[in-house]
């Protein structure tokens, strides 16, 4: 019964979205207030209906209702409750439902908190957002209906892919979707502004929180996914340049560019048409991501749907929105006049450089991702090639190095007109520190690779540059006064410093890990010890353990240094009998400067076990930096000017209260 209600709610939401896509838009063109105002309740209704549908599906998973095809295929009674819940989106249909739920959530948020938007713009934004909703509702209802029933329900389900039965991966999709779909909001704003034919500073301010939120969620989502790959795939790889990963990375890069160019629109009323174009492209990349993941066109480890019908439908959605958006852009771009004037030596110029670097690097990832497909299509399948990590490492990394080199400098350059010499003088300390770190690492390392020293120097440059940036914001005077002022700085300033520092930490982590990683692969007898990277590892024993829905071969490994025991690790190999799939559970001793990563392999013919041990320097810095970047985004998001803008309508009704 609940399932049918959920199904019904989903169809109703589709119809409401159709209504919302048309009526407010017509209202805004004809200036009919009643028609424009219809957008708000429609957006709320759309969200509530979709939320109900999603809740109904979750209920079916929680209660293991195997009369639903989706539940049978992806769940099992013995599965832990957490994964019954997260199993709702651990499959194609359910995850698409989550996707539209977020589309409607963002739409509803624009209706709830968009009180200070001009009514025309708000009606148009909500209408465009509803068009996105219509497309994806139709996709779900016509190609991927989660509420399909089975005529004869089985006694038990086929279990969720064991890879997805993991906290890291269970929460990775919702964050990614919040990011992808957040960019639909910037798309809606861009299209609405193009229809209106006006982009001004206020528009930049309204668009920025959505971009920022989308970028923060993408950061968290990508970070979680990479962390999961690190501990789950059994050899500590954290990034594979897999098409599906690239699919999330491209919108991240474009969102980062958009984030910065929207600042120029907001503060300086320049770069308008570029920002609008970026907003359109950013959502385009989100949809390319959806297409890559869902269509199975570029088969990869992650692709979990493989159905041409869906691929064609998604390609259609992508084509309609991109062609529509870009055509509109071509027709209206001329109307956006830049106002701010600035010199070559200015923050504006540095932000243009930031945008060029980020956009070009996103483009490289894009070309590398689709190139095998292009070659195959162009030669009608005669030539097949692979574009693997070596290409991306070579083609992509230089851009990030240049970006990192310019960043602290650009971040401190004044608006309009600045003196590069003065900025460099302020950053002298940071530069000396970075150079010292680089030289010291070069001298201390055994190999001759430049990767480690360059990465660490870059990290030191970014972190100390961010520190100098925030410190100079406190002005002049005695240290005590400056320290006090530090706490009172706008949160956006803190956000900027923390996010930029976080990028430095991540860069240092990636370089350190790739430069000095050590591995050891050997056969170990139970009770045997061996030395590895300054540690002594002992395989104490191996036993079989029965889990809730899996059987585990669990090894007991102790790690000691100079005779003192530092860690007890239990790497596992699990077999999920229902899904008939093995998984590896690496055991990791996390540390600030290094991880020790142990994996147990197969038993050997002559006794003993294959064992892999890895020494992973600075591994946690990669995710630590991602957390800092996300945190910086949250700080900026909570900046007073957004909160005030959000509450502006209410404050108009209330008589002004004297401050403090």
């Amino acid at each position: 019964m609940i399932t049918e209600l959920g199904h019904f709610a989903l169809i109703l939401a589709f119809l409401v979205a159709c209504f919302q896509a048309v009526v407010p838009l017509v209202g805004a063109q004809k200036r009919w207030p009643g028609w424009m105002a219809a957008a708000d309740p429609a957006a709320t209704a759309q969200f509530l209906l979709t939320a109900f549908a999603f809740g109904a599906l979750m209920w079916a998973f929680v209660t293991s209702d195997f009369s639903l095809r989706l539940v049978t295929l992806n769940s099992h009674t013995a599965k832990p409750m957490l994964y019954k819940i997260t199993g709702t989106w651990g499959n194609h249909e359910g995850s698409m439902l989550l996707w539209v739920l977020i589309v409607t959530l963002f739409g509803a948020m624009a209706a709830w908190f968009g009180g200070n938007l001009p009514p025309g713009l708000r009606a148009r934004v909500l209408s465009v957002q509803a068009m996105v909703g219509v497309a994806f509702f139709a996709f779900i209802i016509f190609t991927s209906n989660p509420f399909e029933r089975l005529a004869v329900p089985p006694f038990d389900g086929q279990d969720l892919n064991p890879l997805l039965q993991d906290p890291g991966l269970a929460f990775h999709p919702p964050f990614l979707y919040l990011g992808y779909v957040g960019l639909s909001m910037t798309f809606s704003f861009a299209v609405a502004a193009l229809i209106e034919g006006r982009v001004d500073a206020a528009w930049g301010r309204w668009v920025r929180p959505y971009t920022l939120a989308a970028w923060v969620f993408l950061t968290i989502g990508i970070g979680l996914g990479s962390w999961w790959a690190y501990y789950e795939l059994g050899w500590g790889g954290f990034w594979f340049w897999d098409p599906v990963e690239n699919a999330s990375f491209m919108p991240w890069l474009i969102a980062a560019a958009l984030l910065h160019s929207a600042i120029v629109v907001e503060k300086r009323e320049s770069l308008k048409s570029w920002t609008v174009l970026l907003a359109i492209i950013a959502f385009g990349f989100s949809m390319v991501g959806a297409f890559i993941t869902r269509s199975g066109v570029l088969t990869s480890v992650h692709a979990f749907a493989n159905d041409p019908e869906r691929g064609v439908f998604l390609l259609g959605i992508l084509a309609v929105f991109m062609l529509g958006g870009l055509t509109l852009f071509a027709a209206r771009a001329g109307m956006m006049q830049a106002r701010g004037v600035f010199a070559i030596n200015s923050r504006e110029t540095m932000l243009v450089a930031n945008n060029v670097l980020l956009a070009v690097s996103a483009f490289i990832v894009f070309v590398g991702t689709i190139w095998p497909l292009v070659i195959e299509l162009a030669t009608s399948g005669e030539r097949k090639i692979s574009v693997g990590p070596p290409f991306f490492n070579m083609a992509f990394t230089p851009f990030m190095v240049v970006l990192g080199l310019l960043l602290p400098f650009g971040a401190m350059m004044p608006w309009k007109r600045g003196k590069p010499g003065r900025v460099l003088r302020t950053l002298r300390g940071a530069m000396v520190l970075a150079l010292a770190v680089g030289v010291l690492t070069w001298a201390m390392q055994t190999g001759r690779s430049a990767l480690g020293p360059v990465g660490l120097a870059l990290g030191a440059w970014l972190v100390s540059g961010a520190a100098v940036d925030i410190w100079t914001r406190t002005g002049r005077g005695p240290i005590a006064g400056r320290l006090r002022r530090l706490g009172r700085l706008p949160r956006a300033d803190w956000g900027k410093a923390v996010a930029h520092g976080g990028l430095g930490v991540t860069m240092a982590g990636i370089a350190g890990l790739m430069a000095w990683e050590a591995e050891d692969i050997r056969v170990v007898q139970e009770g045997e010890s061996f030395a590895f990277s300054g540690y002594t590892l002992t395989l104490e024993g191996v036993e079989r353990v029965q889990g809730p829905n899996y059987i585990s071969t669990m090894a007991d490994v102790t790690v000691s240094k100079d005779g003192t025991r530092i860690a007890d690790l239990t790497p596992e190999k699990r077999v999920y009998p229902v899904a008939q799939m093995p998984t590896t559970e690496a055991a990791i001793d996390n540390g600030f400067l290094r991880d020790i990563y142990v994996v147990i392999g197969d038993p050997q013919e002559n006794g003993g076990w294959a064992m892999r041990s890895y020494y992973k320097p600075l591994a946690n810095w990669i995710w630590g930096g991602s957390i800092l970047m996300a945190l910086g985004g949250f700080f900026s998001l909570s900046d007073r000017r957004y909160r005030v803008a959000a509450g502006a309508r209410k404050s108009e009704a209330v008589p002004p209260v004297p401050a403090e």
Binding site: D200, G237, A338, W371, R383, V387, T584, A648
Partner: protein, 159 residues
């Protein structure tokens, strides 16, 4: 080679299953060479050869049987004194360019390799053009905001 071919037949039958098999960081202790220099070279080659029966994985990271056979073959060739290029050629001759994780620079692939630098020049050029125009422009206040709109904008921005 016969063992390899036999395995391939088996694996083709089970490709679907294989797609689901996880990489567990593959090279097995039994496959490794005793000579550390040669083994290091072999591992570098492993990273650059694709497991053709897997989904976008190198033979270094796949635990599929095909990848294991390929790793053994790499080591066999190296022990026989083959250079890195000869090992690559051996695999390319049998499985095509597809087996190389680093795309070659032949034919249309120059577009792939050139895409980044080309885009940078193009993007940089457009940006430079824009910047020159922007810095040369006077105070072009052409966009018409009504007084009420200006007041409202000021109100929003000053908060």
């Amino acid at each position: 080679m016969t063992r390899m071919l036999c395995c391939i037949r088996l694996l083709v039958a089970g490709t679907f299953l294989l797609g689901l098999v996880l990489p567990v960081g593959a090279v097995e202790p039994g496959e490794m060479l005793d000579d550390p220099v040669l083994e290091a070279r072999a591992q570098e080659l492993d990273d650059d050869l694709r497991c053709v029966k897997c989904r976008s994985e190198s033979i270094a990271s796949s635990n599929a049987e095909w990848a294991s056979d390929a790793r053994v073959k790499v080591r066999e060739l190296l022990t026989e004194g083959a250079t890195d290029a000869e090992v690559r050629d051996f695999f390319v001759a049998r499985y095509g360019e597809y087996v190389l994780m680093t795309p070659t620079r032949h034919g249309a692939n120059w577009i792939l390799w050139g895409a980044g630098p080309l885009m940078l020049v193009l993007g940089g050029g457009i940006a430079a053009f824009y910047l020159r125009r922007r810095t040369a422009a006077g105070t072009g206040d052409e966009e018409g905001l009504s007084t009420a709109e200006k007041a409202r904008l000021g109100q929003i921005l000053d908060k």
